[in-house]
C-alpha cells in the first residue's frame, strides 16, 4: 500500500473524498474494488465513531397510516425505523455475506433442507425481557402463518417446520434452499417478544434504539437503548426520523442543517445539491430496477414479435441519461445485473435499434396505438420515462399512447392488473429469490404473466445445485429466456442516492437497500 493510497483513504475516511471518487482513484492505483472497500471501512472505523449527539433523518416514504407492526411495513420510513429499533436473525453485509446477529451460529444439513440457528444469549428486549429461541420461532410463525397479513408471507412460504431445540431454532424447508439465510434478513422479520402475537404494534424489539414517540407520517423519535447487546453499533443518544415527502423540502432541510441525512435525492439535482457546503452525495449501485411490464398472455402482448419490437424501440442510454443523469446502469430486459452473485456478464447488451423494432413490429401484424399506463408513483420519473419511450418508439413507427394513472391506487388497480404498465422492482439479495418472486409460473407477483415450464424446472434445479459454475450457467440460461421471451422491458437499474452533511460520518453504502440498507442510524456517528 503506497502513500498516495494511504492519503486517499484518510481523506475518504474523514469524508473529504466522495466514496465513488475514492473507489475510482483506488482502482487507478491498482487496488481492487473489494479490497478498497474493506480498507475504507477499516480506515473509517480507525477514525473512530464518537458517542452522543442527536441525529435527524429527513425521509421520503412515510404516511400517517404507518404502523409499528413489522408485518404491515411497506414504505421507506417503516423500513428505516424497524432497522433502527429492531434486530433480525442475520444481516447481509455490503459485499453480500451473511452476518450473524441474533442468530450466533448458522448451520445447514447436507441437503440444505434443515437449518439450525443458535440464538445469542444475554440479549434484552426494550421492556427488560430476555430473548429466547421461542421468541424467534414465534416471530417466524407469525409471519409465515397463512392467516397472517405479513408482507413477508410470500418469502416465508417455503418453511414447512419451525421448532425450538434448547437455545437453537430449527427450520425445515420444503425443497433444498441454499439461500435461506438471505430470506431471514428481511426487515419484516425483526424479532418481537412472543413473536408479537400479544401486541404486534407495541414497538418492543431488541435493537440499539428504543421508541420514545411515534407520530405516523410526521416524526418518529427513538433513544439509545443502554442494554443493547452489541456495543459497536448505535452511537447517537437519540434518533429522529422526520417524514419529508417533498424532494425540494428535503434538500432545503439538509442545506439549512435541520436534518443531517436525507434519502431519495433526485438524480437531476444531485450534482447541484452536492455543491452545497458540507453536503456529501452517496450513490450506491443496487439491484432496484425501473421497468415496463407486458403481460405475456394478453393480446397484443402475447405475440413475441411485438414484445421484441418494444424491447428494441426503447432508448436505454438516453433514458439513463435523462431520467437518472447517469446515477444507475443500463438494464438488459432481465431482472438481474452484475450486483448479483453468479451473474453472467457475457450476455450481450441490447440497445436501441429502430430498424429491428420496425421489422419485428411489422411481423407481429399489430395495428393501432399501444396503451402504456404510468404514474408518478411507479418509479421516480416514470411519467417522463414513458414520454421518452413514446418518442423513441415513434421513430420505429410504433405508436404508444400514454395513460397517466393517479398515484393513488396504482399498485392495486394498474400494476399486476393492466397488460402494459410502468413499475419498479426493489431487487432481492440473490438471483433465486428474484426469479422465484416474479418469474416462476406460480409466483404471487408474476407481473409479466411469464409461464414457462422449462424455466420453472431450471429454477428448481439451480436452487439445489451446489456446483457454482453449473449454477451460474443455469442462471445465465434463465436470464436469456426472460430477456428474449419474457414480458419485461428493463431500461435501467437505479442507484440509491442519499446525502448527508458534515455533522455525521461513517457512511458505508449497501447494495441491498438505501440509507446503508436502513442502518444509517445504527452505524453512523456524530462529528459535532
Amino acid at each position: 500500500m503506497n502513500d498516495e493510497f494511504r492519503y486517499l483513504m484518510a481523506r475518504a475516511a474523514r469524508g473529504k473524498l466522495d466514496r465513488r471518487a475514492f473507489m475510482g482513484r483506488a482502482a487507478a492505483l491498482g487496488v481492487t474494488g473489494a479490497m478498497a472497500n474493506t480498507l475504507l471501512a477499516t480506515a473509517a472505523r480507525a477514525q473512530g465513531p464518537q458517542r452522543g449527539g442527536h441525529l435527524v433523518i429527513g425521509m421520503q416514504g412515510g404516511e400517517s397510516t404507518n404502523s409499528l407492526d413489522p408485518a404491515l411495513a411497506a414504505s421507506q420510513v417503516p423500513f428505516t425505523y424497524l432497522r433502527t429499533t429492531g434486530d433480525t436473525l442475520v444481516n447481509i453485509t455490503p459485499d453480500g455475506q451473511i452476518e450473524p446477529r441474533l442468530a450466533e451460529e448458522i448451520s445447514a444439513s447436507d441437503d440444505a433442507r434443515t437449518w439450525s440457528l443458535k440464538i445469542r444469549s444475554g440479549v434484552e428486549f426494550h421492556n427488560g425481557q430476555t430473548l429466547t429461541a421461542e421468541d424467534c420461532a414465534q416471530t417466524l410463525r407469525r409471519h409465515s402463518d397463512e392467516e397472517s397479513q405479513s408482507g413477508a408471507l410470500g418469502i416465508m412460504r417455503g418453511l414447512t417446520d419451525i421448532r425450538v431445540d434448547g437455545d437453537t431454532l430449527v427450520l425445515e424447508t420444503e425443497t433444498p434452499n441454499a439461500d435461506l439465510p438471505y430470506l431471514l434478513a428481511d426487515y419484516h422479520l425483526v424479532i418481537q417478544p412472543n413473536g408479537g402475537f400479544d401486541d404486534p404494534a407495541a414497538g418492543i424489539f431488541t435493537g440499539p434504539y428504543k421508541w420514545v414517540e411515534d407520530e405516523p407520517g410526521v416524526r418518529h423519535v427513538m433513544e439509545k437503548f443502554a442494554n443493547h447487546w452489541d456495543d459497536s453499533v448505535g452511537h447517537f443518544n437519540s434518533v429522529e426520523v422526520l417524514v419529508i415527502n417533498d424532494a425540494t423540502a428535503r434538500n432545503s432541510a439538509l442545506q439549512s442543517g435541520q436534518v443531517q441525512i436525507i434519502n431519495r435525492v433526485e438524480p437531476r439535482v444531485a450534482g447541484l445539491l452536492g455543491r452545497a457546503p458540507g453536503v456529501q452525495i452517496h450513490s450506491t449501485a443496487g439491484r432496484g430496477h425501473y421497468v415496463f411490464i407486458m403481460h405475456c398472455n394478453t393480446a397484443p402482448f402475447d405475440n413475441n414479435d411485438l414484445r421484441m419490437a418494444l424491447k428494441y424501440a426503447i432508448d436505454r442510454e438516453d433514458m439513463l441519461d435523462k431520467i437518472l443523469r447517469g446515477y444507475g446502469s443500463l438494464g438488459n430486459d432481465m431482472p438481474v445485473n452484475e450486483a448479483y452473485p453468479l451473474f453472467d456478464e457475457t450476455i450481450p447488451q441490447r440497445s436501441f435499434d429502430p430498424d429491428r423494432a420496425r421489422h419485428h413490429y411489422e411481423r407481429s401484424g399489430h395495428d393501432g396505438p399501444i396503451i402504456l399506463r404510468t404514474s408518478e408513483v411507479a418509479f421516480p420519473g416514470a411519467v417522463d420515462a414513458a414520454q421518452l419511450f413514446q418518442e423513441s418508439a415513434a421513430q420505429a413507427g410504433i405508436p404508444i399512447e400514454i395513460v397517466r394513472e393517479p398515484g393513488d391506487g396504482y399498485w392495486s388497480e394498474v400494476w399486476n392488473a393492466q397488460p402494459f404498465s410502468a413499475s419498479y422492482w426493489g431487487g432481492r439479495p440473490v438471483q433465486d429469490q428474484m426469479y422465484s418472486t416474479a418469474y416462476l409460473s406460480t409466483a404471487d407477483w408474476n407481473d409479466t404473466r411469464f409461464f414457462n415450464d422449462h424455466f420453472d424446472s431450471l429454477l428448481l434445479e439451480a436452487r439445489g445445485e451446489l456446483d457454482l459454475d453449473r449454477r451460474k450457467a443455469i442462471y445465465s440460461e434463465m436470464g436469456m429466456m426472460v430477456r428474449d421471451e419474457g414480458g419485461l422491458i428493463c431500461p435501467m437499474f437505479n442507484d440509491f442516492i442519499d446525502a448527508h452533511n458534515a455533522q455525521v460520518d461513517g457512511w458505508e453504502g449497501n447494495p441491498n437497500g438505501e440509507m446503508m440498507n436502513g442502518f444509517a442510524a445504527v452505524h453512523m456517528w456524530s462529528t459535532a
Partner: protein, 318 residues
C-alpha cells in the same frame, strides 16, 4: 322569539341533517374508489391470502350498508373507532392534527383578514391612483403563482439563504407558543399571500359598488373625510359579499392547504386526510370529512347571519 334566533335554530337543525348527508356521500365516495384498505396497506407486496386475511380481520367482508350503520352508531356516541390501517385511536390522532391545522389557519387568518380589508379600503380611497394599482399588481401576482412555487421561493429566500425561519415547520406538543409561531412563519406567510388577493379585491369591488349611492354623496357633501366615509358608510352596506368571500377563504385555510402542508412538512389535517384516502381507510376519512363539513356549514351559517344582520331590510322582513 326573535326572527334571527329562529333562523339560527332552523339552520343548526338543517346543519345536522347536512352532516348526515355529507357522511353518506363521503362513505359512498370512498366505496366507489377503486381498491380497498387491505390492498392499499399491503401495496405491491400483497398476496391473495394476506388480502383475504386482512379483510376478514377488519370486517370488510360485511356489506357496505352494515359497515356504514356500525360506524354511524359509534359516531353518534362520540366513538370514531380506530384507524383500519394502523389501529391508532382516531379521535386522539385527529385532535392533535386538528389543533395544528387550526393553529396555522388562525395565524394566517389573523394576518390576512385585517390586512386584506385594510388594503381594500386603501385601494378604494386611492382608486385608480398608484397605491390602488400597486396593491392590485402585487396581490394579483401572489395569487397567480402556484402555491408550491410560492412556498419554494419563500423557503429558498428565508430558510436556505437567510436562515431566518426553519424550512421544516414541524411542530409538536413540547414547543412553546413562541417556538410554534417561529416554526409556522413561512407557511403562514405563503397562505397569507395566497388568500389576500381574493378578499382584498372583493372588498374593493363591493365598496365601490355602494360608493355610487346617494347617501354616500350626502356624506361627501357633509364634508366628511373620504376614508371615514368609506369605512363608516360604505363598508357596512357592502358587508355581505365581503363576509362571504372571507368565509370561503377561512374555510380554505382549514380544509384546502394540503399542498402547503406537504411543502413545509406541517402535521395538519390535509396530509392526514390524503394519506388515509389513498389507504381507503374509511373510518378516518369519514371522521375528517365530518370535521371539514362542520367547518364549512358553521362558517356558512356565520356568513348568512352576518349578511342578514347587516341589511336592515333583511333584518325586518315585511
Amino acid at each position: 322569539m326573535h326572527p334571527v334566533l329562529t333562523l339560527v335554530i332552523q339552520r343548526l337543525a338543517l346543519g345536522l341533517l347536512l352532516l348526515l348527508a355529507a357522511s353518506v356521500l363521503i362513505f359512498v365516495g370512498t366505496e366507489i374508489l377503486p381498491g380497498d384498505v387491505a390492498q392499499a396497506v399491503l401495496g405491491q407486496g400483497a398476496t391473495e391470502q394476506a388480502l383475504a386475511n386482512m379483510r376478514a380481520q377488519m370486517g370488510l367482508d360485511q356489506p357496505a350498508y352494515i359497515r356504514y350503520f356500525q360506524w354511524l352508531a359509534g359516531a353518534i356516541q362520540g366513538d370514531f373507532g380506530v384507524a383500519l390501517s394502523n389501529r391508532q385511536d382516531i379521535a386522539s390522532s385527529i385532535s392533535r392534527r386538528l389543533g395544528n391545522t387550526l393553529f396555522l389557519a388562525s395565524v394566517a387568518a389573523a394576518i390576512s383578514v385585517p390586512l386584506a380589508i385594510f388594503l381594500g379600503l386603501l385601494a378604494v380611497r386611492y382608486r385608480d391612483r398608484w397605491p390602488d394599482k400597486l396593491i392590485s399588481g402585487i396581490t394579483l401576482t401572489s395569487i397567480s403563482l402556484p402555491e408550491f412555487l410560492l412556498g419554494y421561493i419563500m423557503m429558498y429566500i428565508f430558510a436556505v439563504q437567510l436562515g431566518w425561519f426553519p424550512s421544516v415547520s414541524n411542530i409538536n406538543a413540547g414547543m412553546s407558543f413562541g417556538q410554534k409561531l417561529n416554526a409556522v412563519a413561512l407557511p403562514a406567510l405563503v397562505l397569507t399571500l395566497v388568500v389576500l388577493a381574493h378578499m382584498m379585491r372583493m372588498t374593493r369591488a363591493a365598496i365601490l359598488n355602494v360608493m355610487q349611492s346617494a347617501y354616500i354623496e350626502t356624506a361627501e357633501l357633509k364634508g366628511l373625510r373620504r376614508l371615514t366615509i368609506i369605512a363608516r358608510h360604505a363598508m357596512p352596506n357592502s358587508i355581505a359579499p365581503i363576509v362571504n368571500v372571507v368565509m370561503i377563504n377561512l374555510a380554505y385555510l382549514v380544509v384546502g392547504v394540503v399542498v402547503i402542508e406537504v411543502v413545509f412538512v406541517y402535521p395538519g389535517m390535509g396530509q392526514y386526510l390524503v394519506d388515509h384516502v389513498s389507504k381507503r381507510d374509511v373510518p378516518v376519512v369519514q371522521a375528517c370529512g365530518l370535521i371539514f363539513a362542520s367547518v364549512y356549514i358553521g362558517l356558512n351559517l356565520v356568513a348568512d347571519i352576518v349578511s342578514i344582520l347587516s341589511n336592515p331590510r333583511l333584518r325586518h322582513p315585511k
